[in-house]
Amino acid sequence: MQREATHAVAPAVPVPAAKLGMWWFLASEIVTFGGIIVAYLVFRLAHPQWLEEAAHLSVPIATFNTLVLLTSSLTMVLAFAAVDRGDERRVATWLALTVALGLVFVLVKAYEWRHEIAAGRVPGESGFWGFYYGMTGLHALHVLGGVVVNACLLIAALRRRLEPIAHRVEMAGLYWHFVDIVWIFLFPLLYLSTH
């Protein structure tokens, strides 16, 4: 594969360095989000009354956002497939869609926050809201980070300068899909287990 040509010397491990580095980073991310999720689970089980707090959240809005993020994973992986085919124009199209969907997700999240805050549901009200803003806030920051990285790759693709750094689309994709997986769990944890 052309990617292995980037190693100056024979690699000690049979995995490209960028991919190995990205997975190490993701391993640390799993523990970051996982630690918060485990703490939330323990607190939630200890406070059955959080059920009523969680019932205030809007399931339709969160469902919409879930579909947005799942679709953005599809467009991201299609960008990667286009890199493999050497089709730079398609790479730009799929990256642009991924950036747009990521922004939609963050804007919808911001609207939700505004709505909750206006209704007086703020972190001090109960432990549930502390976890809610902490978890969705950290996740939204991760989405924003992914949007910035994808936008940089998009600009490179539009300026026809993507080729030497094309393998980064795969790395950005690994990160993006991880952020998607975090939401796959936050959605039922916060919104669905209330009835």
Partner: protein, 91 residues
């Protein structure tokens, strides 16, 4: 990375959407709360596994990458297991 054909990404996406909508609709069906929670989280796990195996290509990766993904999950399971007795035995 071995040469492999790309999986059918669109088919995976369709499954992800179906599973997401299913987990929302199941909450409207009257059933015992523990059963509903179990179903919802099993569906979430299936979605996460689909994304990891096919979109993150874990299915085509080597043991080294697999273990980087699994080791922190095992740590988290242990963390949860040692913390849970606190809740169960102190109501």
């Amino acid at each position: 990375m071995e040469a492999h054909a790309h999986p059918n990404y669109v088919a995976i996406w369709v499954w992800l959407l179906i599973l997401a909508l299913f987990s929302v609709m199941i909450t409207a069906v009257p059933m015992p709360h523990p059963l509903m929670v179990t179903v919802v989280f099993v569906v979430a796990a299936v979605k996460a596994i689909l994304v990891a195996l096919y979109y993150m290509h874990l299915r085509f990766e080597q043991l080294l990458i697999y273990s980087l993904a699994l080791a922190p999950l095992i740590c988290l399971a242990v963390l949860l297991l040692v913390l849970l007795p606190d809740i169960v035995y102190h109501p």
